[in-house]
């Protein structure tokens, strides 16, 4: 952790993430207004003392909505990533450990899944599942699975030929002991790094799905949906698209920067 804080990217990333997590946990409580409450007189207003970041087309307070949307947006990112990374890693580890035919069959199928552009694949799945937040989360998780499986597999493969694993094999250790104690702990680094960076992708894809009407649905305060709902009004009040848009950007950037710093910290080449 100290290593992460030392690099400027890591520091900025950590600060951004801290803000994001603060907002996620406390945002709904500190919000000055009910995120759904109308203020018909102040529709589409710019920032003012009354509404710090302005209001949307119903006169709902953008600041409160943004704060209120944080938990669902962040939870979406974390949930989808956790699910995708979890399942992907299991598949990848199985492929990497089993090797041989199992490995090549799994890899061929994963290649097939990876041959579709990520968003396209997500779209198909989410349409198949019928739209909505949970469905979108599942879809993103499924989309992440093949990529994560590959990373997990290559990570496992690179560890599997290390000499300490060979030594354990030569010693006659059981397969499960080798996987659990020698391979996994050392293969975890790249997986964690990738997962962190993927959270930002998950958030962005989730927002995109919300935007396309396939993710969160009104009256949710999910940020992507907020952009979609008020896009019509963007020329009348740019704030109503800028606020949620920048919220997404800041969150994604936080995870990105933090992930990069984490990668540097894990990278033996850069650490002394």
């Amino acid at each position: 952790m100290r290593k992460i804080l030392k690099s400027p990217t890591g520091l900025i990333g950590t600060v951004l993430l801290a803000i994001v997590f603060f907002v996620t946990v406390f945002g709904p409580w500190v919000a000055p207004y009910d995120p759904q409450a109308f203020d018909p007189i102040n529709r589409l207003a710019g920032p003012s003392l009354q509404h710090w970041l302005g209001t949307d087309q119903y006169g709902r307070d953008l600041f409160s909505r943004m704060l209120n949307g944080a938990p669902s947006t962040v939870a979406f990112g974390l949930g989808a990533t956790l699910l995708g990374v979890g399942v992907g890693s299991i598949i990848g580890v199985i492929a990497g450990v089993a090797g041989g035919r199992t490995d090549s069959i799994i890899m061929r199928i994963l290649d097939g899944m990876l041959a579709m552009p990520e968003l396209l694949f997500t779209l198909l799945i989410v349409t198949f599942l019928g739209g909505g937040t949970t469905q979108a989360m599942l879809a993103v998780a499924v989309t992440f699975t093949p990529g994560m499986a590959r990373i997990a597999r290559s990570s496992v493969l690179s560890v599997r030929t290390r000499e300490y694993v060979l030594a354990a094999q030569a010693r006659g250790e059981s397969q499960s002991w080798i996987v659990g104690r020698e391979v996994l702990p050392n293969a975890l680094g790249p997986i964690i790094v990738e997962a962190t960076i993927r959270v930002s992708f998950a958030i962005m894809i989730g927002a995109t799905l919300g935007f396309l009407g396939l993710g969160a649905q009104p009256p949710s305060t999910e940020w992507g949906l907020m952009v979609a709902e008020s896009r019509q009004f963007m020329f009348r009040n740019p704030w109503c698209v800028a606020v949620p848009g920048l919220a997404i950007a800041i969150t994604a950037m936080g995870f990105n920067l933090f992930g990069d710093a984490l990668r540097d910290a894990f990278d033996p080449k850069r650490s002394h």
Partner: protein
């Protein structure tokens, strides 16, 4: 602003939904209707006054009990390919419309037609199974346009991409992804018309893009203007906005064979718990009128004035308590995500009804899921309907016991028989009386909550004259449109 029409010019009309098919029998897209109106003619055609006008039929007569109609056809009309138009084409068209094996949208308003016969080359006779005074309205149905027998006997799927009609314009290019181009029909039956050389229907799926292109002068007409943009667009220089009072409405479907909607007091309470003016202001940006729980638009013939229902959360709460829900009511309101107005209506309802003890949880779902799982099945959802030409058509669509889309399970024999009477009565005063009773029944029982009627909004550049949209937005009379020539 010259008053004498000048011929020539290409009218560029922007629209935001695809012209997915040219099949006049079944299409229903907002941008498909103007194309149909330009490419084809029907026996009759709805005017801006909501009355049937002569089109290919120059005049019509009915027998006394309104079971037989005779239409005299216009002479010397030819299809775009030059073949002459005769009574036989009319017969072929109506036989196809009535054929249950062919999907056709007009069939639902023509179910009473028993047979269509050509009396001679320029006369057809409709025989009805039951009296139906509004037949000339039905023949004006946007999907009941006359096709040639040749086209109908050919592969019917060719209708999707080709058109051989008798309308003022001929098909030139059909590219559903971008543009449909129509050119002047030199042999149109109105002499000297159309004035325009061509019309280009240009697709802009993104509203922002469409607006920007219209404002910058790339297009001449914006077929549909969104409420959010109307003021800005209409007030731009060189642009004329049109706000046409019409009968498109959102309705709240409450299945009346289900708790709690089987109790009229609950329905009434919900009606009082809705701030209709707020909805008009926020959702329609003021471009519409509050409606008071009747699906009959004020524009329709025989429409009665509906008493105003004020926003009265206290009263609603009391009524709800009376109905056995003193602690309020938790219900889930379903809204499809398309068009956005459904979810918007739900959101405003949720906010205003909360004060009356209605805890509405909104579930917005993709339109396909909605169609497959909720529509006609769910017990509390947001419906959205276009204007129908007559009270009869309006009620037969939704409220009579055998209506096409009976989604409320509100069945009232008295109401049914009134509608039936209205059909067979030719005398206008009598009909007015009958329809007034029917509307009173509707108001009393409140099968639907109808919060507002939406105006039709369109806009054109100043150099475009006579651009207009009929309230039921299926008829455009583009042959009358002309442009100043630079």
């Amino acid at each position: 602003q010259g008053s004498e029409p000048v011929p020539g010019g290409t009218l560029k009309v922007s629209h935001s939904t695809r012209i997915a098919t040219l099949n006049v029998l079944s299409n229903s897209g907002p941008a498909e209707y103007p194309c149909m109106d330009m490419l084809y003619s029907g026996l009759t055609r709805m005017g801006f006054d909501n009355q049937p006008q002569p089109d290919l039929a120059t005049e019509w007569t009915a027998n006394d009990d309104a079971t037989e109609f005779t239409f005299s056809l216009r002479e010397g009309v030819t299809f775009h390919d030059g073949t002459p138009f005769t009574a036989d084409d009319v017969v072929a068209t109506y036989e196809t419309i009535l054929n249950p094996d062919v999907p056709s949208a007009a069939r639902s308003v023509l179910t009473m037609v028993e047979s269509v016969k050509a009396v001679d080359d320029l006369t057809v006779k409709f025989t009805l199974a039951a009296p139906f005074a509004d037949l000339p309205y039905s023949t004006a149905h946007a999907n009941a346009r006359i096709l040639s027998r040749a086209a109908l006997e050919d592969d019917i799927s060719k209708l999707d991409t080709t058109a051989n009609g008798t309308g003022p314009f001929k098909l030139d290019t059909y590219d559903s992804a971008r543009m449909v181009r129509l050119v002047k029909n030199e042999n149109y039956y109105k002499p000297g018309q159309p004035y325009l050389d061509a019309v280009e229907m240009m697709l802009f799926p993104d509203l922002a893009a469409e607006t920007a292109n219209f404002l910058s002068g790339e297009t001449d007409v914006m077929l549909t203007v969104q409420q959010a943009d109307y003021e800005r667009i209409a007030s731009s220089s060189g642009i004329e906005g049109q706000q046409i009072g019409a009968g498109r409405y959102v309705c709240v479907v409450m299945r009346q064979d289900q708790e709690p909607w089987n109790d009229v007091r609950v329905r009434k309470a919900l009606g009082m718990a809705i701030d209709r003016q707020l909805m008009v202001d926020i959702i329609l940006e003021g471009l519409g009128r509050p409606a008071y729980d009747s699906i009959v638009a004020p524009e329709l013939e025989f429409a009665t004035d509906k008493p105003e229902i004020a926003y009265d959360p206290e009263g609603a709460r009391a009524l709800l308590a009376e109905a056995g829900y003193p602690d309020g009511l938790d219900v889930t309101l379903i809204a499809s995500d398309r068009p956005a107005i459904r979810a918007q209506a739900a959101i405003v309802m949720q906010q205003t009804a909360a004060a009356a003890g209605f805890n509405l949880e909104i579930r917005t779902m993709p339109h396909d899921t909605y169609l497959a799982e909720e529509w006609m099945q769910g017990d509390f959802y947001i419906g959205y309907w276009g204007m129908q030409p007559t009270i009869d058509a309006t009620y037969n669509l939704l409220l009579t016991s055998d209506a096409s889309y009976q989604d409320t399970e509100w069945k009232n024999e008295e109401f049914d028989s009134l509608i039936q009477q209205g059909r067979s009565t030719a005398n206008p005063e009598e009909r007015a009386e009958i329809y007034a009773q029917a509307q009173a029944l509707e108001l009393e029982d409140k099968p639907y909550i109808v919060p507002f009627f939406e105006d039709v909004l369109t806009a054109s550049r100043e150099n475009v004259h006579e651009w207009s949209v009929a309230p039921i937005s299926r008829f455009y009379f583009v042959e009358d449109v002309w442009m100043d020539q630079a």
